[in-house]
């Protein structure tokens, strides 16, 4: 039950063109959808944005983790996007966000979802991990970094 078991190369956007939160979420959701992992893309995005309306998931240090439980996915999924210029996510520290992890889980898999969310948050507290994610150039590098830091 590790992030690297779920994060796939096609779901890693290494150069987001998005300028704002919704565009970034849509862009990453698009790459997840290309892998057929979302049953209803618009419903998925709506659920994610609804959660964002409660408070930003931009948790500081240039990181955001938009997430939601949603019927539009069957199990658990995660996508990643990196923005060199940064995206305004109304983050808690007011800084632009460069690393975005988009997560969704079916309500039947709540415990798995919570544990993976907690695992991701723990990993992202490590400044070295964040630095290496920022320096990564290819999708495969992102997966390899998770494998490295999760082992």
């Amino acid at each position: 039950m590790k992030i690297s078991d779920y994060l796939k190369e096609h779901a890693c956007q290494m150069n987001l063109s998005a300028q704002n939160k919704e565009e970034a979420i849509r862009e990453i959701a698009g790459s997840l959808n290309s892998g057929g992992e979302i049953n209803e893309q618009e419903a998925f995005i709506r659920d994610i944005l609804e959660r964002e309306s409660l408070g930003s998931t931009g948790i500081g240090h240039g990181v955001a983790i938009p997430h939601s439980r949603t019927d539009s996915v069957d199990g658990f999924l995660i996508g990643f996007g990196k923005s060199s210029s940064g995206v305004d996510f109304s983050a808690l520290d007011g800084e632009p966000v460069h690393l975005i992890f988009l997560m969704g889980a079916n309500p039947q898999e709540l415990n798995l979802y919570l544990r993976l969310l907690a695992e991701l948050s723990k990993l992202l507290m490590d400044a070295a991990f964040r630095r290496e994610l920022m320096a990564a150039e290819k999708s495969s590098d992102i997966i390899a970094l998770f494998q490295k830091f999760e082992s």
């Binding site: 439980r69 798995l112 919570l114 999760e150």
Partner: protein, 159 residues
């Protein structure tokens, strides 16, 4: 004497359902009582609040959803056990998962714990933090780790 008191640790979801099926099978074959324990993971919720990934209202929503999911899941296992003629008791509790499961085993003086498959590869750090690993290591009774889910379906279907 013998194995008369089996505990199964469940967390909802597909793997837990198969784990519960195996536990029902074992209980029926051994003529043992089965107790299923579901723990609302308050530690994970607290960690997510602390790290600001959850807002208060969201954490409260998840907490009540987890409790409801636990109730529904335990009811499902109760029906499965009853269909197979197994005496059943549900335990719905909250807190740190491994602590609660181990405490339930001790309180019931259980002979055997049945749990789902552990992670494939683990580091020392994971062994320390993973709830499944900690249940496995801290259980005071014999632990059966369920694998080969196809066979589980066959065994369950055979009784």
């Amino acid at each position: 004497m013998g194995i008369k008191n089996i505990v199964v640790s469940v967390a909802g979801g597909v793997v837990s359902l198969l784990t519960a099926k195996y536990a029902v099978y074992l209980a029926q074959q051994l003529d043992a009582k089965l107790t299923a324990v579901y723990v609302v993971d308050e530690k994970a919720l607290g960690d997510l609040l602390k790290s600001k990934i959850f807002v208060e209202v969201e954490a409260q929503g998840y907490e009540s959803d987890l409790e409801e999911q636990g109730r529904r899941f335990l009811e499902r296992v109760r029906r499965m056990a009853e269909q197979k003629g197994v005496a059943f008791e549900p335990v719905l509790t909250r807190g740190v998962v491994h602590d609660e499961v181990v405490e339930t085993i001790k309180q019931l003086n259980a002979d055997m714990l049945v749990m789902g498959e552990l992670k494939e590869a683990v580091s020392r750090k994971e062994i320390f933090y993973d709830e499944g690993e900690r249940i496995f290591r801290e259980s005071p009774c014999t632990v059966v780790v369920v694998k080969d889910y196809e066979k589980v379906e066959m065994l369950y279907g055979s009784i």
